[in-house]
Symmetry: C2
């Protein structure tokens, strides 16, 4: 490990390469399935060299995961209580869908972690995530109570948005196997819009 100075160009480049490679490997194999050697190879480094930049496999995983968590909830944070209810929710759906299309590795990393019981991020889920969801649920409930959108169970509404949008990244192999040549994201935005417009348009 280098001393406590400003990172050199080499450090910046290599740390970035390692984190990108780790995202590749962890999202495709899970934490236990990934090997340090694999990550090093993908990053174009030797294993000891990689361990010169990060103290352990777990440290790399933590770093990748916390970088992910930082941005993962941005689309929901942006849901504006002052905006038009239906349009706000539709915009949130589209933002989430874009993230699945543009950052599928991040989505799969998250999925891997959750499916296997979220051992490393359970705390964040039941504190930060829960608080954010509670906040936005209150907004949606207010809209619903005011009759500005159809009555809906707000928690399940949010779960449905998560599951529908992330499905195209997390289960991409399955979607592609079923669709064949067709682009999975071709008709998806329109489908989502129709679905939530019909669900939420008041009477």
């Amino acid at each position: 490990m280098p001393k406590d100075r400003a990172p050199t160009r080499i450090q910046q480049k290599n740390r970035a390469a390692i984190l990108d490679a780790a995202l590749d490997v962890f999202s495709a194999q899970g934490f236990r399935g990934a090997t340090v050697d694999q990550i090093a190879t993908v990053a174009g480094l030797s294993k000891p060299n990689l361990l010169y930049y990060f103290p352990s496999k777990e440290a790399i995983h933590n770093e990748v995961l916390s970088q992910l968590l930082d941005t993962w909830l941005d689309p929901l944070r942006a849901l504006d209580p002052a905006g038009d209810p239906l349009e706000e929710i539709l915009a949130y759906v589209q933002r989430k869908l874009e993230m699945s299309r543009d950052y599928p590795r991040e989505s799969r990393l998250f999925a891997n972690e959750i499916v296997q019981g979220a051992p490393r991020i359970h705390d964040v889920l039941s504190t930060d995530l829960r608080a954010l969801v509670d906040e936005k649920v209150a907004v949606i409930k207010a809209w619903s109570d005011a009759g500005r959108i159809a009555p809906v169970h707000p928690y399940h509404l949010i779960f449905s948005i998560w599951s529908l949008t992330q499905h195209y990244a997390d289960f991409e192999v399955q979607v592609r196997a079923v669709l064949g040549e067709e682009d999975p994201f071709a008709a998806t935005p329109e489908f989502m819009e129709t679905l939530y417009r019909r669900l939420l348009t008041p009477n």
Copy 2:
């Protein structure tokens, strides 16, 4: 390995215990994350004893996975072209939801496999699964074209059902972290029914 005779009572009991334990461990840790020792311990056997009944870790995984695939698509197979369109689809949704509630381990095993690229079941997906989906998509498209349900992209309709229902099993930790004490499945059937009724009821 015993000779090629009818399985004894001990064989039946132990093979069943192993497969159940394997479902536990594989669904919670993924293939590479699971160890033979773990499975053996959960099954109440020693590792060499377990390997007396199955030749390898991969053989156990294959067996568990193929038993799963056998029944996983039954709810979709049961979609009856002769039934009432909306009620048929709603019934399919409820069957899938029940499977998520009653067989979450199976759902998570499947999710683990797909998220990590489905290396072992890719063939089944692009043959059997695809054929079944194509068949049912045709049914839904016919209903849609006949105006018996609202116009809808049939593939994405099916994907939406998969993702929504399986979400409650695959992402159970997250759902519970957000909902707290509340039973994840309490309001879910009603939410699903409302959603698909609104989406599919012809104008």
